[in-house]
Symmetry: C2
Subunit: 280 residues, 2 copies
């Protein structure tokens, strides 16, 4: 499987602290060694860094963990290959363009066996079930609205509808952002923690690192952090229920819905209440 | 204006040496300080690094100049903004997907005033004339072949046809790659140098750096390097004629054609036989 990390913020915010915690899970504190990636989306701006090396040993990951890149929306992923070999084209997040925006997507779980006719514009480059599902979501959005860029509510409804046809194939926990909105879907495991002013010191669980509030954590900022498993032991993490879909705008939940997951997926979520770390 | 650098190779090859020369032109030996980018394309694999800082001062550029990333096709760019402000979304190379492949594009020059109706799938994210022209080329390819991925010759003909409608708006020197092919078009200035075994020592003109042949420069490798102005003084650089379009496959020219440029563009190319460095 894999692990997800994300941040949706009211103001451009440095994600190094949480990324350092996630990156440790790529070979140091857990077994997600088949590549990693991080996408920084801030309105139209989008930068993606991917690597097929384990994040705990990647010099690029070390560079990113030193660089204060600030963005409103961040999606990161460490990969343990299930469908598709370990290579650059199978690293998350995947990025594509629609309506003059960048859309980034990362997935935790597997939706093995899900198929659909995808147009030449939505054909995956790599061989993962994840990129296939992302292309399917984007194609549904495109087919539903064509030339007209839809409003947040319309995108939300369309994404919710598309998810229904995919979740029956397996666990489909994902983060999706277009630079303004952050969609978080849980079919088995996904948690979030929303931080507001006054920000307190934060401490990672994977490595000995704390974060003190600095200038970027101003009174006007709201920071929702997402993770497959809690990254810190200093904040309250809210486990999403299997079937929950939230969309965050400026760090806050703008809309929520529940898409029932099939019984066997709900049972899987119950059995593995929280995925266990391998190396502890 | 801007400057281009590219490499098309028979075998995955480290581009650090030439990138170091180009990166110096982003603020140290020339004035292209409005961002930079580099895309490494190797068949389906694609990694892109962009930054809105001057390449000569960018810590990411320094990281890339240390990392031995090997690819068959590399496109790099240092930007001096003409159309569109200095920001991440206006940094080249631009990358989009078609037929399950990544396509990367970087442009030197300006095609101010070129307009066209672009579909929602080919709408630019940033505000440069360059991304607009790239989207226009991809839309033409898509309209010409639809669901069927065309062969090299067909792509070449279609690209050549599309160029004709753009070059009348200004200077349209570009590099375009889909991971297998590298298209190089000159409307005013673009040069290339093809290196074969036995490889000799190479020396940059911008900084005191030489490259000795190493293991990656094997008997089977062929390396064509592209640049707006020669990056080395140890190789023979061939200036392309205004209107020339070459496509390189595995480092060698696979097809060539000539698309006549309007008289005023040809005149501009003659006046500025080679763009002059600003800081020398």
């Amino acid at each position: 499987m894999c692990e997800l990390m994300g941040m949706a913020c009211a103001m451009p915010t440095d994600a190094r602290f949480y990324f350092a915690g996630l990156a440790a899970r790529g070979g140091a504190t857990d077994c997600h060694i088949d590549g990693w990636g991080i996408a920084f989306l801030d309105r139209k701006s989008c930068r993606v860094f991917i690597d097929d090396q384990p994040s705990s040993m990647s010099s690029l990951a070390q560079h990113i963990a030193r660089e204060p890149i600030r963005s409103r929306n961040t999606i990161a992923h460490v990969r343990k290959a299930t469908v598709g070999k370990a290579c650059i084209e199978n690293c998350h997040p995947f990025v594509r363009q629609l309506w003059g925006r960048n859309w980034a997507f990362a997935h935790q779980g597997s939706v093995h066996g899900y198929t659909k006719d995808l147009d030449e514009l939505f054909r995956p480059v790599g061989t993962t079930d994840s990129e296939f599902a992302f292309c399917s979501l984007l194609q549904d959005l495109h087919k539903a609205f064509g030339n007209r860029e839809p409003a947040c509510e319309e995108i939300f409804e369309c994404v919710a509808q598309s998810i229904g046809s995919i979740t029956e194939y397996g666990s489909f926990n994902f983060l999706l952002s277009n630079g303004e909105l952050m969609f978080a879907h849980c079919s088995t495991h996904l948690q979030y923690s929303t931080r507001r002013w006054p920000f307190a010191q934060s401490r990672l669980v994977d490595i000995a690192l704390t974060q003190d509030p600095d200038d970027s954590l101003s009174r006007n900022n709201v920071i929702s952090v997402f993770s497959t498993r809690p990254l810190t032991d200093t904040e309250v993490w809210t486990p999403m229920s299997p079937g929950d879909l939230h969309v965050f705008e400026a760090g806050r939940i703008a809309a929520s819905t529940h898409i029932p997951v099939p019984a066997h997926i709900a049972e899987r979520a119950r059995r593995q209440r929280t995925p266990r770390p391998h190396f502890t």
